[in-house]
Point group: C2
Chain length 682, copies 2
């Protein structure tokens, strides 16, 4: 056992692993200002290759953090999906074209940019916000976790740091994994792929007894984002359930020289008898090919393939066979790897809601649907604000159970989808209707189109819980975890805002700023800063009766002990825990911010920094960008409006009438703790 005298430090949140899932957890820590550290045993970030697909919902999340624009500018936007299959003569032909992202669901579409750039944007964002919020931190590399221990008696103690993690700061040499680098400088990804066991234990053995600084980190919370071979998961003794398959796939990132017409479209290509491939057009003229490699079979006993036999030349050869008679060559390859499909889900997503697992540590699947990086980041996007709220004393620990109920259910759905999609994609195309061993291309198309909505990330529909006030059983709608609020059962009135399904992300339509007439996609104002939002659809405030309802609603909110005042610490600005954003439906030019809207809806900013002009919006025609038709699109009555509570991660939690102050109060009673109990964490 290493020395007991290793220096100790305390932290609200320790994140193990600095891939996209870990970075997203760190982003929440930075944006909410809690004290966090993020460690990774490797000594550099990713520079190329790896994951690359970014779905609509992921881009929306990036926007709420402030860097979607950087992705959107550099990424290749995937517009069209082409399906190539053997025709009746057995020859390859384009069977169909469809839009890659379903039309009308988001301002963003699926885009492709390599993981290294995404990590870069995260690093910049984490640095900026953690600095601004007073707890600056950045990724600590070459830090290897050695031991993790949970003091179980203290798990419910808000004042405790019950997780003890011993880490070792490696030397540069120790921290560099063997990269299987070829003479021409192309890095393969095998050292981190699903084929190769990851190197944590090996590294640990190698560094045992060697010189190097050790440190004990006492954390309130730990999130293990350390990949498919998660050290954290293994320490907790949790399993991934599922099976590998027989299919071996190679991945090549190349600049192709080819006469294949759709090389700049996303394509599925099923050959008659030489397997399948997928084309993913990338940034910087790159194209990623996912290629079925039939030459390498898994070992009959272990079920695993011998990775050393797979080379880029072999992958190219397989691709050439699939694409024949089209030609394919390349001079430039920036990255390659190989993997064996396996669909697995973790049995547990947390230990006592103190140590959590996220990303590949709790779900693995094939990469071809472009889901991996997205679902992994969305795990910690779901979790991070909840931990921050609990650490800050804003929320009860009970909300942390919703992480597993919400995300394990998503992981299960993902695995089911991937199982279906992979099978259809890897199978030999049916020769005709009678060929039952083959895959029907009609079925493939149907599954792809159904899957596109799922793949976008926008079909996520979290089940009932203290955070989601909808009908039904919390247990059945989640993964079985009990997440019903102990308080009064609240159910929102879905009919008042038909397009904002309770449990799904609050959708975005164009509105105008009342005061400056600038059009905004409303979602831009749902920033990831840890605040709940109450969207007041104020209706037509120029109708005296409706104006009275709005006035009354504001009066109720201003009362001592209201759903708003109760959670706002004394001395803090009124919008520090719950922010009210207003969308009204009266003609913009007939309204005047100060006259037509109570002060609560545009409060004076601290230090006499003027009225807040960015809280009241209107559903009206813009000069340059048309009419957002927000009331119509949200499905809200344009005269009477309604009230919608939106979680800090953008999911709709509650909907009610302006008069349903009790419902709103009951909703927040399940999510938040009264401010008197608020403390600052550490």
């Amino acid at each position: 056992m290493p020395g007991v005298d290793a220096p100790e430090s305390k932290v609200d949140l320790l994140i193990i692993g600095a891939g996209p899932a870990g970075m997203m957890a760190a982003a929440w820590a930075a944006h909410t200002g809690i004290k966090a550290r993020i460690i990774d045993k490797r000594n550099t970030k990713i520079f190329t290759g790896q994951a690359d697909g970014l779905q609509c919902r992921t881009l929306e999340i990036f926007e709420s953090l402030g860097f979607a624009d950087r992705v959107w500018k550099e990424a290749n936007h995937m517009i069209e999906f082409s399906m190539w299959n053997p025709g009746p003569d057995g020859k390859l032909r384009r069977d169909d074209r469809v839009p890659d992202s379903p039309i009308g669901i988001s301002r963003w579409h699926e885009s492709v940019l390599h993981q290294g750039r995404i990590e870069r944007f995260f690093l910049d964002n984490i640095g900026k916000y953690s600095r601004e919020n007073g707890n600056e931190f950045s990724v600590e590399r070459g830090v290897l976790p050695l031991e993790i221990e949970l003091e179980e008696g203290a798990v419910e103690d808000d004042a405790a740091w019950p997780v003890k993690v011993k880490v070792r700061h490696l030397s540069e040499e120790e921290a560099s994994p063997e990269q299987h680098e070829k003479a021409d400088g192309v890095s393969d990804g095998l050292f981190r792929s699903n084929l190769a066991p990851d190197d944590t234990e090996e590294l640990q053995r190698r560094t045992s007894g060697m010189e190097g600084r050790e440190e004990v980190i006492r954390a309130k919370y730990v999130v293990g984002c350390d990949g498919a071979h998660s050290w954290t998961r293994r320490q907790l003794g949790y399993k991934l359930e599922g099976e590998p398959t027989d299919y071996i796939w190679g991945v090549l990132d190349i600049v192709p020289i080819t006469d294949f017409p759709d090389i700049r479209n996303r394509c599925s290509v099923h050959s008659e008898s030489s397997g399948s491939l997928m084309v993913i057009p990338r940034e910087n003229s790159l194209v990623r090919l996912y290629v079925q490699v039939n030459e390498i079979k898994p070992d009959a006993e272990t079920g695993r393939a011998d990775r050393s036999k797979i080379t880029p030349e072999l992958i190219l050869k397989s691709a050439q066979k699939v694409l024949a008679p089209y030609k394919l060559e390349y001079k430039h390859c920036s990255w390659w790897t190989a993997y064996q499909i396996g669909q697995r889900v973790g049995t547990n997503f947390s230990k006592n809601e103190r140590i959590f697992l996220a990303g590949d540590a709790v779900h693995t699947h094939s990469p071809k649907a472009g889901q991996g990086m997205n679902v992994s980041m969305q795990d910690t996007y779901n979790l991070g604000w909840k931990i921050a709220h609990v650490v800050q004393g804003k929320a009860p620990r009970s909300i942390l159970k919703t992480y597993q109920s919400e995300r394990r259910r998503i992981a299960q759905d993902l695995i089911n989808f991937d199982h279906k999609f992979s099978r259809l994609f890897s199978g030999r195309p049916a020769k005709d209707a009678a060929d039952e061993a083959g895959v029907s291309m009609e079925e493939f198309k149907r599954v792809f189109l159904q899957g596109a909505m799922f793949a976008s990330g926008l079909s996520v529909d979290y089940g009932r819980s203290m955070l989601i006030a909808k009908e039904g059983s919390a247990k059945e709608q989640g993964d079985g975890t009990e997440v019903e609020s102990a308080a009064v059962k609240v159910v929102g009135n879905q009919a008042l805002c038909k397009a904002a399904s309770i449990g799904m992300r609050f959708p975005s339509f164009q509105v105008l700023n009342q005061s400056g007439a600038r059009p905004w996609p409303f979602q831009v104002w749902l920033k990831s800063d840890g605040r709940y939002r109450v969207v007041l659809f104020a209706g037509n405030v120029k109708e005296p009766e409706q104006r009275q309802r709005v006035d009354k609603w504001c009066e109720e909110a201003e009362k001592s002990g209201s759903w708003l005042k109760k959670y706002t610490p004394a001395g803090a600005t009124i919008d520090s825990v719950i922010e009210i954003l207003t969308i009204h439906s009266a003609p913009r030019v007939d309204c005047n911010l100060l006259e037509d809207f109570p002060d609560l809806l545009h409060p004076m900013r601290p230090n006499y920094m003027g009225w807040d002009y960015n809280k009241v919006f209107v559903d009206d025609a813009s000069y340059h960008d048309g009419h957002g038709e927000a009331y119509k699109n949200y499905g809200v009555d344009p005269v009477k409006g309604c009230v919608v509570a939106v979680r800090p991660d953008g999911y709709t939690g509650f909907i009610g009438e302006l008069e349903d102050v009790e419902g709103l109060s009951n909703y927040f009673a399940g999510c938040l703790l009264p401010a008197s109990k608020a403390s600052n964490g550490s």
Copy 2:
């Protein structure tokens, strides 16, 4: 005379002054890769205040350089312009609202962001591109020009460095101008305003005889962008012609606390008898107020006002009088200044086309139309690529004369506009139709609306020259400078592409990438990299006859000595001097890049980096973003198409039929030198 032994260095381009005009000149040097230096006598960049208005055309230019997105994200977008005037009862009321930027002219609208941010984006951009292009440089601060000398006998010698500039590298202390900083940290802008004479000579006197490094810079070309009190202009003995006026204006950048309803709109406010003000809503809750200060009058003899009497309190007091009965207060002021309107234009914009003047050095006017920074940057945007072409041996020196003919004419137009606008803005509103001494508010509105198109920067229409093949007299359409090509007179056929007026910037409509279906505003592909572009409207390439015309056009271009081959150096890629971009009108799904378009239109990239998939576009419906109707909007025949030559700065130079190879050849004969004469400058 300072020592003759000062060290000497050589440079293609020396830029004096690192404000926006200087930065834009430097950006061209960076994007074209010529050897440049940019010096400024101050030791820091601007951090706040100063110019802030950014017009449509400026944003288009920023996009072509690669940083419009950064501006667009941080800037306040100005959407509405409100006019407040006294009503019949003498009380202030909103008379009218109009869109601030004319509708439909650009994807961009007028935006506001302080100069310090613009300089930041330029610095980053110049660093990136000068590094990539192999001649890295950045702004050298605290460098004071002492002497400038032009060897007149060598001005026409391409191999010479005829300009000798002696500079002094100041110490930190020497380079810091006295900033009139108040105790509360608010910086006023007076040390750099029009009221205060600039400090060049004073600094020069102070540093004479002191320790410090001197250096002689031998330059092929010099651009003086050193402001209204330009040292460069004075050394050349050139004058600004025009007069100051009696109007004194104060400028306050504050976070206002006010009940004035339109504080987040751009407004003109004419009070009955207390003068006028303009409201410019800014980024970060700031509002800029331009306020007429009637308390301070110019000295009867000098015509200049005593700046020491103007304080922010005085400006606020004036503003309060104009806005009454609305209240106005503030706690936070980030910057303030005062100026006296003066409309002046330089007599000469260059000395022998070796030393140029740009920006405030050759035109001064009131800032309220938001033109200053824009017109100044557009001066050097016009000039920079021309200098680069001549330095690189691509173009004859004769093209440099077009700088004065094009930009001095613009400056004259600007001064005329500003004179009219300022007079209407500063005047007392007419009480009624009979009140001839007062300003008619109807006339004010008319001039504003007419002016909005001018202000956008999109009405710029360069006169005939060797670079602009249109009808008419070069002398009459410019400022009188002789810029007719010595070669055959070429006149483009305007009727073939009605919306791309020869002499105006090539407009932008949405097209799709043929190969990936991604929609693009076409302008995105007109990057500022120094290349001419030939836009081939290829028409319907699926019609055999039209396809033959396209094939024939490509064959002509591929011939030795063609308009394309003649200017492309041996060994360089075919698109290195003139890039062909194609927009066709056949249905996208019927076309195949390799089969339907000759290789010339999508050439193989060097080092076998694949076919170029970013050169052929189609006018077709997109999946998510509608139909650009590009042929209709450009006014081009959708079957027969046409050919448009676009200058490196995005202005339409020539239009012809596909068969008019002679016209195209003659056009380029006036702009470019055959490649055999090309050299690399320095």
